[in-house]
């Protein structure tokens, strides 16, 4: 009886407010039309033209720019470099961020001060992040070299950023410094949003702290971690600032990632038509590489929630 009443009330609400979900989504869709669809159409048109910076749309050349892109070895290699950078960096930052977030869950007093201090790298202006790391890593008078020479670990100045071996790891270090706090904050929030009841019940049943973490906390966290990792992976694939400021894509082409190559084509060779085609291809490439993660996320949501 009561169940029947409940279902009719719910259904009446449901029916009278059928338009509500559409209204809730509408403002965002409008925003996406402005911000995603219009630029995409513009890029597609630009990419099928011969366009220079300041002198756009000189001639229509159809798919010529795309044909050129598939023959552009520098571009194809830069895509591979983007993945070779983004994948290990994202995984390392996720593991580090997860560990630190769990660690922070246990410090109670002054916790909010510690957590905000850890966010400072994320708050540093990006130009300053790059300059700071450049000062630390500089072969002449940099902090790292002063330390290496001072401790007798090296007898002559080392140019880490000019070394084929060390340039990428140096960028990765600066990237981890700047972006791990992003992961810490979000994983911490996800931990806070978890229901305590499950953990509590397991504890009462005699589970150890480690078992509770492995069997309850971690599985519940997976959908959130996958989403955070996805966003971080995309930003790492789009890496630009640190390369621009620290290595300018060098030594040679060793750190020329996708975004930096597009920047060169657009603003050093002024070939914006071609750069538009590269941007579209890069976007497709990122969508393709992240597709397994999107699928993994849907699967993890079905599995655990």
């Amino acid at each position: 009886m009561q169940a029947a009443r409940k279902s009719t009330t719910t259904r009446r609400r449901w029916n009278t407010q059928r338009y509500v979900p559409a209204l809730l989504v509408a403002p965002m869709v409008l925003g996406l039309l402005v911000f995603a669809v219009y630029p995409l159409i513009y890029l597609l048109i630009l990419s099928s033209s011969e366009s220079l910076l300041g002198k756009p749309f000189q001639a229509w050349i159809g798919l010529e720019n795309y044909r050129a892109a598939f023959a552009d070895q520098t571009f194809l290699a830069s895509l591979l470099r983007s993945i070779a950078f983004a994948l290990p960096v994202t995984v390392a930052e996720l593991i580090l961020g997860l560990a630190i977030a769990v660690l922070l869950q246990h410090t109670i007093r002054g916790g909010h001060i510690v957590r905000t201090l850890i966010l400072l790298p994320l708050m540093t202006p990006p130009v300053m992040v790059a300059v700071a790391w450049k000062l630390i890593l500089s072969p002449v008078g940099g902090l790292l070299n002063a330390a290496l020479l001072g401790f007798g670990l090296s007898d002559k100045p080392v140019s880490v950023l000019g070394s084929a071996t060390w340039a990428f790891p140096s960028i990765a270090l600066a990237d981890a410094w700047q972006w791990t706090p992003f992961i810490i904050l979000l994983v911490f929030a996800a931990l806070q949003a978890q229901p305590v009841e499950l953990r509590q019940a397991a504890m009462i049943d005699g589970a150890s702290e480690g078992q509770v973490f492995r069997d309850i906390t971690l599985p519940l966290l997976i959908p959130a971690v996958v989403a955070i990792g996805l966003i971080r992976f995309i930003t790492a694939l789009k890496l630009f600032d640190l390369v621009y400021a620290l290595t300018q894509g060098g030594p040679g082409f060793d750190t020329t990632v996708g975004s930096f190559h597009i920047y060169r084509v657009a603003l050093e060779q002024f070939n914006v038509g071609y750069a538009a085609a590269l941007t579209v291809l890069f976007g497709l490439f990122v969508s393709l590489v992240t597709l397994p993660i999107v699928i993994l996320r849907d699967w993890s949501l079905r599995r655990w929630l």
Partner: protein
């Protein structure tokens, strides 16, 4: 009646909390403190180094010595003289505040509808993400023309609009897992009690996902506050330029004013630090969240 129920479950929640943070043994506590110390060292040492740079005379910055021979306090007032740091700071705060508000206002209701009513299906979810996959270097050109056409170019609301929309995918994807974790039966109970969908969202769902709202809001504020490329292209007067652009101005043609640049950067970090500190209080599971859950 509902007040007493809330009070009862609030008491229960705090009891639970005390139990789950049971005292670890001495060894573990020591290890935790050591680990925390190392973490803080890694994240704060470069900031401390920046503070040192801000107090070094220009010729000593690249001398390889850690401590300056004399403390160059003049870098700080000089920084404020070289570029109008306070004006840039005001612009950054206005843009970050407006854009984060826009992002949250658009994303929270949309995520709720997408999760609970499957509005838009998987198509909408992938469209949201697709606006985030392309590097903005070329994509900024059409946005430049759009703002010019709508006379929002070189204005604070114009830049805030672009930042607010640019951060939508981040907010939508990060908020989704929080909304998904809200137990469905709580919402259905609320519908039975006569609340509509919007009422359920406002009074039941939002209080439960406070940690998520807080974390994502902080992220949106910081992402806008530190965004460089859009700010560089879409604003060009000191009245509208933001601090990241202002900080870049210290890089002259030949000489980089490292000390002043560090002083300006550190100044810029103070307001956003205070905002984050304020918001962080809401990050630890609030009593409201626990009460509704319990």
């Amino acid at each position: 009646m509902s007040a007493s129920r809330a009070a009862a479950s609030r008491a229960r929640t705090s009891a639970l909390r005390e139990n789950t943070t049971a005292r670890p043994s001495g060894q573990w506590r020591l290890l935790r403190w050591v680990a925390l110390g190392l973490v803080l060292l890694f994240f704060l040492a470069p900031i401390a180094y920046l503070a040192l740079v801000s107090l070094k005379p220009q010729p000593e910055v690249l001398s390889g010595r850690l401590l300056p021979s004399r403390i160059a306090w003049e870098n700080w007032p000089n920084a404020f003289g070289t570029v109008d740091v306070l004006l840039f700071l005001r612009n950054s705060i206005v843009v970050a505040g407006l854009s984060a508000a826009l992002t949250m206002l658009l994303s929270v209701p949309a995520v709720y509808a997408m999760v609970r009513f499957r509005t838009g299906g998987s198509l909408l979810r992938s469209v949201v993400l697709s606006s985030y996959v392309a590097p903005p270097i070329v994509a900024v050109i059409p946005l430049f023309y759009l703002l010019k056409w709508s006379q929002l170019i070189d204005t604070l609301p114009g830049l805030a609009l672009v930042h607010g929309l640019a951060n939508l995918p981040v907010a939508v994807w990060l908020l989704e897992s929080f909304v998904r974790e809200v137990p469905r039966d709580i919402e259905e109970a609320s519908w039975v009690d006569g609340a509509g969908r919007v009422g359920t969202l406002a009074h039941i769902v939002l209080p439960i996902i406070v940690p998520g709202l807080v974390a994502v809001t902080i992220i949106c504020i910081i992402l806008s506050y530190n965004e460089f490329l859009f700010a560089l292209v879409l604003t060009y007067r000191p009245d509208t330029q933001t601090l990241p652009v202002g900080v870049a101005l210290f890089q002259g043609d030949r000489l980089v004013q490292f000390g002043q640049m560090a002083a300006a950067s550190l100044t810029g970090m103070i307001p956003v630090y205070l905002v984050a500190l304020f918001f962080q209080r809401g990050l630890v599971r609030g009593l409201t969240g626990g009460a509704i859950r319990g």
